[in-house]
Symmetry: C2
Subunit: 324 residues, 2 copies
Amino acid sequence: MKRIVVLAGGFGGARFLRGLRAVAPESKITVVANTGDDITLFGLRICPDLDTLMYTLGGVINEKTGWGRDDETFNSKAELAGFGVGPSWFGLGDRDLATHLIRTEMLNAGYSLTDVTSALVKRWELGLELLPMCDERVETHVRISDEDGDRFIHFQEWWIRLGAKVAAEQFVALNIEQSRPAKGVLEAIAGADLIILAPSNPVVSTGIILQVPGILTALKNADAPIVGVSPIINGAPVRGMADKCLTAIGVETNAHAVGAHYGARSAGGLLDGWLVDTTDLPMEINGIEVRALNLLMIDPVTTQAIAQEALNLGRALSNQRGGS
Amino acid sequence: MKRIVVLAGGFGGARFLRGLRAVAPESKITVVANTGDDITLFGLRICPDLDTLMYTLGGVINEKTGWGRDDETFNSKAELAGFGVGPSWFGLGDRDLATHLIRTEMLNAGYSLTDVTSALVKRWELGLELLPMCDERVETHVRISDEDGDRFIHFQEWWIRLGAKVAAEQFVALNIEQSRPAKGVLEAIAGADLIILAPSNPVVSTGIILQVPGILTALKNADAPIVGVSPIINGAPVRGMADKCLTAIGVETNAHAVGAHYGARSAGGLLDGWLVDTTDLPMEINGIEVRALNLLMIDPVTTQAIAQEALNLGRALSNQRGGS
């Protein structure tokens, strides 16, 4: 498993990757990150998933909240509110602000998001390559109906301000038809020995990455086996509100339904292997090799065991396919 | 003295205005502020003099340093340096950042600096009207010669990074020929009962304001007497490095030379009255009424006494001219 590609969102993907990096120190890991969560606030371009991945893998994440910087202060945010300038629901930390300032200035100067991300991560030895899914500005919007009527709001507003409490009727990744996989993404997928779908939100994280024209086809055509790690354990998301997202696309919130949603590669879907929690056994999905272990990433040891099992499953599938 | 116009830079102007506001509570005070110090850093538009005036008069200035916010932190600045992104010599505080974020976003949205300033100061009851000298981007540059050759650098770099230690050969306010007095400036000058030049740097604060096309003529044509408060006491600037600036334009660093540099209005200059420190007596400048008192603004009482004397001198000059 020399070359591994991982499709990832923020929190779950970042934790999983920390484990994978530890158990596969010799592998070249390329992360393709969701950027549909991105938002411009106060004139700053903010990429929540890229930032969570960078901070987590850089060892400077706030371990308690799972987002933002450690040892953070929120004085700038307090002052914005003091001026009466919103929104106030976004957790804009003072340390975090530096990332957004640099990103915004570089983007305004004409650099691509791929270049910007590469420049930002240089500060830390991530031990892997972090790529945005695309360079184009793609923003996921959520269709809701409430007292203000039937409307679309930005995913972040639905997720953070509304706490996903208002039912999502539809997710639209604006501008995604015009996007292209970022430089290096298709090459990494084509050259991979193993492809992993991290335990990220199947709808608004992995699901958005898969909508970037060219990525799904590249995955289906890849030589490498594709192993998914279920983000749903015992019928519920471990964290976040993936259940609300799955409901919107008509998928039940359980590991079997999500696995079936991705589908067996042999039947035109994506997955060769599917890693689920032992509480979700027994499980059988035609054409997908299912394996189970404790999927709760509660500490480094558990997380590394999960990553190791993804590697093991990938290796087994590779051998079945006659690969290396 | 119903309507008073004050030309001001940052620190000295802000302190003086705090005194003036206290002794002239019934007057409408309009401040015309220097914006030649303005600079764009990290993609943010920063207006040091406007900010110092706003923070000082809003009661949230760092009283110890005389610039920036009270109770300030510098975590964002530390992170920018952590990413290796400079310059590091500018004191960008986390609270202060909110001001720059709002200003930059509003300017990018098409608002004028006058509108932005008006929006920002709404948060505090300044008790006076704060206007930038112009809406156009004007930036003072300094010509220096050092090991890197003969060149121009931004005023802030010379002032802060170099501590004005490299001799200034010339000051050029870029783009000032294309600027116009901000909305309200000419009207305020024409309608004033008293015009005061605050104890600000005669070269890079007041001197820049006077270069905005139309302002000098408006002052010379104004009905109101013009009283200057000397920023030079006993042959030295109280604070800052006005001496380095005066040398560059061939003016000696003493209150008499600066008064003569502004010139008597009756002889084509600006001043009707000139307030100096008692240590600088005796002093006589043809056509200018000189008065002396302790000019060191060491506390509110002293500062208010200075502002009161400026009012008294203005009233006396007004009576001489047959005004109200």
